[in-house]
Symmetry: C2
Subunit: 264 residues, 2 copies
């Protein structure tokens, strides 16, 4: 099996032109097959504010009404995605920007209303990932760049969490490739002490994760990412890394104790 | 050679949800290989207005400053492109939305400043069209949907006239396919009398075009489209149609006197 690096880049890196430029430059040097997944950063929130579209948050999650969906489609699938793709092309990477609707690469279902109506938010399963089509791109030297927008197959675009897209892609593509999933953001990894950038936990196993959770060591915001990651490992992904975007080359080469490595 | 239909859809159709829906439904029924090219309609102008980005026009053409480029990238390559792609997917067309940066499909050069600085506007030649890459899509059952955004290969996105994109694609792809270029808009074709929708000129040859120009019959706004078209025919495109978007099925089947047919 060929090795495939799936790399999720966080919003704070997208928001910082210098960091983003360095990251894309490093990305261009990754020699394995590769896929980038990006979210949106602050640009969508700022645009919504300028347009007077109120952002309703429930339990820290954004409600995606019709106007908010338009804004995120414009910013994620339009502005950020095309800027990243153009920058990659200038660095010799034959990137293609995609939403899940494009070539039907990722199908999602609108989240069912239980207590809260999240609006046009899509949930995906790995069965929604079009492995054959994505392979056509990879085998033709094309590097997919996914924005956090999917569709339901019935004409509806859906806002979809970029971490979830990355892990769904990783699980589905592990049928055909040896997949390493990399979550890159502005911190050095999973930290023992959220205030101390040097307190990186280098290895977390499924068992040590349970212990860390029980001890309350894991920062709340990291839990969905880690749950996603262990799910991915259980379902065929060979390795998951959580690390600083500056360390992309090191983590894709797996040399040394950089970032946090999750293992079964 | 396989037949390839390149279909440019005008802004007035994009702006009208009912017309657009009917058009996309007809488009899904075109059985030849096919490519859609779309511009932007009023949405970009309205968004720029809401954001307080002044639109400077010189000789009826929009100056694309950095902020205007962001707006057109968001609206053309983001919102409209993804909405069209999602709608097509729901109709069984495996569409992929593209800017010229995606998979390096269309490279352009920033228009040189002579008297006027048009800003981030791209001019393309048929050599800027990546025939091999577009063929990979077509041969894998994927229908490209191009927005009016290209890139220069050095990281810069560029606003590019959608009519020009359609004719550059047509010329370049005529090396590999039997290409019919179709300009679809809200009128029934090239009209003898711009006030009379039934005054369609069914056939224009290169010679009769000269005569019509000399007689002042051709409406000013149509001249660039017609010049582009005769250029395309000279350079290998087998047929060019200018017609109402409602008549898409008729013109791609070339049955009957519908729209205006341009011939050598």
């Amino acid at each position: 099996m060929k090795k495939l690096q799936i790399i999720k880049i966080g919003g704070n890196v997208i928001d910082n032109p210098t960091e983003l430029e360095k990251f894309l430059s490093d990305f261009s040097k990754v020699t394995d097959l590769k896929i980038l997944v990006h979210g949106g950063g602050k640009v969508a929130t700022e645009l919504a504010k300028k347009l007077g579209i109120e952002q309703e948050m429930v339990n820290g999650r954004r409600i995606t009404d019709a106007d908010t969906l338009k804004v995120t489609t414009m910013v994620y699938a339009g502005l950020i995605n095309k800027q990243v793709v153009a920058a990659m092309q200038s660095k010799g990477v034959n990137a293609i920007g995609l939403s899940g609707a494009d070539a039907n690469t990722i199908k999602a279902s609108k989240r069912k209303v239980v207590d809260i109506d999240y609006g046009f938010v899509g949930d995906i399963e790995s069965s929604g990932v079009n492995v054959e089509m994505i392979s056509v791109f990879l085998e033709n030297g094309i590097t997919p760049v996914f924005s956090a927008i999917t569709h339901n197959g019935a004409g509806q675009l859906l806002n979809t969490n970029a971490d979830t897209i990355a892990s769904a892609l990783a699980v589905a593509l592990s049928k055909k490739y040896e997949v390493q999933l990399n979550y890159c953001f502005e911190k050095n990894g999973v930290l023992k002490d959220v205030e101390d950038d040097n307190s990186v936990i280098n290895i977390i196993t499924k068992d040590s994760y349970k212990q860390l959770l029980a001890e309350g060591v894991i920062f709340k915001g990291m839990i969905p990412k880690l749950d996603n990651s262990f799910d991915a490992i259980k379902n065929g992904v060979s390795a998951v890394m959580i690390a600083n975007s500056k360390d992309l080359i090191k983590i894709t080469n797996q040399n040394g104790n950089t970032g946090t490595k999750l293992i079964a």
